[in-house]
Symmetry: C2
Subunit: 369 residues, 2 copies
């Protein structure tokens, strides 16, 4: 057990069995306690067939169970990033997969219309979709998982994998009296210092600033955590640098469908009372005549009046996902839709139509401004 | 034959055989005369086995010749974009390919060190490289191509394809007294109007503004031409919009090697007397543990003092080329290397290491500032 004694500038370690105690003084302290998968307190959640995967060991345990028990039917609880990745992994192992989500759509970080092609790809791959179904528990017989229970029925399965998101591990910081923010993540300034001088925090346990909404935001992603860790390290080491914030970029895939989003989505724009225009276009990730030109859908959001780009979503085949980086970079720079339209992006038939799909979407959005 | 009568606001058409003449009055005139392949005036250049490919018909003619004559040995003259694309196309048809370039490297729009892996890929594919060899002519016997003659020797071939670049078609504009700029391309303002009121120009025949060097620049690329055409069209139609300029982005591929560049390269920075730092890194286009993680090399340039990003080059396997769009977007927005380093780019193992290779390059470049 760990405790922080901030006035005493020290960390106390106490053995859980009470057999020992030690303490370590610090000049600077970095809290990097990460995040942990959400495990809702429903009956059977701790049963042996119910897995959460956010550590290497968790993955190894699951893989060994799949090898030893040869389950046939698996339920994935949650249709977000982890849920989709685990769905793909289970399908590739030949299992029957049911996907349960309480929302009316998969991928809640996409608008409903952009999540539709993802749902279609899931169905196409043979996944049984259970949307608008709330997890109520797990039916265990002799400690062995027999079924997932939802508010709509009973799904007989051999294994269940949780993909219900994570929450920041901040009990330590909270007990020490460090200020918390969004979803109880640790508040830090742009140098990654908490409200206590010399106490720093970085990674999945901290709050970030959303550069588009200009509000505090919490995100748990390795790419963000690494950048924050670098900034904290530079500053603790006597340097001086800042982490400006995030724009909400995330990418994933399901089989051949690439999925990406950044900035604000419709729901967020409405919550923030931002007046917007939006356009969605369908194009190809390569020149149409070039072999293997996958379909790609791009949706953009711009603020009415200013024309400022405020968000984008991309779903499509090979070559789709990383195009979100164009939009993410433009969001960082505060570009308008007209700026975006004029970007000098790479063009060659194997990589893009002569108007990159992102630019086609910008043209359509501009017309609505 | 076409002639412009600008004071008379009309275009005159005259049949080359003198048999007829017509004229058409205009309120607005758009010049979109494009560019034409450079054909150096060397002996044999108009021989029947010497091809230039910049029109659909040119490609059809070449393809038919390949089918009918079944040539075995082909020389590609010029190691730039078209030269590389034609080299790949000829290799895929099973031909023996020799590539001739007067420069000591292929891909002159890359720095020599970034062109090296491209040369290695060409050699690996069996291409005979003839660098620092200047084309002196074509040896024709009975009108049939027998060999390419360079300043270093004689290459027996059945067919030759020119990839020596293009030049703007601006004789018409020049005769009409319209102001020309870089490489005799047509000078236009940011609304795409020439120095004559009501006379507009767009596409491969016009000069652009380079947003990094802030100097006039000439580039012949479909993506740029299309944007300019849109701007000219909007303005001719009574609207009001501008084409801000280009940053010099170009991408291509040779077999599995993806090639991209944007902004200023070493040679240009030195010509412009811009004091710079540069770093080159080697990474992977996906997380290293993810299957199919291709190597990728990223090189960045930043202005010393300001830290402003001024250029970038990328060479690597699948997933490399379109990453140039991150750098191109950052150049448009005038971002610094530190801004670049903090971009919230898409991260998931199938698409990127946790530090995107572009960000790794930014970190290394920042250390040198």
């Amino acid at each position: 057990v760990l405790e922080l004694d901030l006035p005493g500038r020290s960390v106390r370690f106490r053995r859980a069995d009470g057999a020992g105690e030690a303490s370590e003084a610090f000049d600077h302290l970095l809290i990097a306690t990460g995040a942990a998968p959400i495990r809702p307190p429903v009956p059977g959640i701790d049963g042996s067939g119910v897995y959460a995967v956010n550590t290497l060991q968790g993955g190894i345990d699951l893989s060994q169970r799949l090898d030893s028990d040869k389950p046939r039917r698996v339920a994935i609880i949650g249709g977000g990033y982890i849920g989709l990745e685990m769905t793909e992994a289970m399908l590739l192992r030949g299992l029957d997969v049911s996907l349960v989500d309480m929302l009316p759509q998969v991928m809640g970080t996409l608008d409903p219309d952009m999540a539709e092609p993802v749902a279609a790809a899931l169905k196409q791959a043979g996944v049984e979709l259970h949307l608008e179904e709330k997890l109520e528990g797990f039916d265990l017989s002799d400690g062995k998982l027999a079924a997932v229970i939802t508010d709509k029925g009973r799904l007989p399965v051999d294994l269940a994998i949780l993909g219900l998101g994570v929450r920041p591990n901040t009990a330590l910081a909270k007990h020490a009296g460090i200020a918390l923010g969004v979803r109880e993540s640790i508040k830090v300034d742009d140098r990654m210092q908490t409200d206590v001088e010399g106490v720093w925090a970085a990674g999945d346990c901290v709050e970030s600033r959303h550069l588009v909404s200009r509000r505090p935001f919490w995100v748990a992603l390795g790419s963000v955590a690494n950048k924050q860790g670098r900034v904290a390290g530079v500053n603790i080491g006597g340097g001086n640098t800042v982490f400006p914030g995030i724009v909400g970029t995330a990418v994933t895939k399901f089989m051949d469908t690439e999925i990406a989003r950044t900035g604000l989505q419709e729901r967020e724009l409405e919550d923030l009372n931002i007046d917007y225009v939006t356009a969605r276009i369908n194009s190809r990730a390569r020149s149409g005549y070039y072999p293997g030109a996958s379909p790609i859908a791009v949706k953009l959001y711009a603020e009415r009046g200013s024309g400022r780009l405020v968000g984008g979503q991309i779903v499509g085949g090979a070559g789709s996902a990383k195009r979100i980086d164009i939009i993410a970079t433009a969001l960082h720079a505060g570009l308008t839709i007209e700026d975006l339209l004029n970007l000098d992006l790479g063009y060659a038939p194997p990589y893009s139509p002569v108007w990159d799909p992102v630019l086609i979407a910008a043209r359509q959005t501009l017309k609505l401004l």
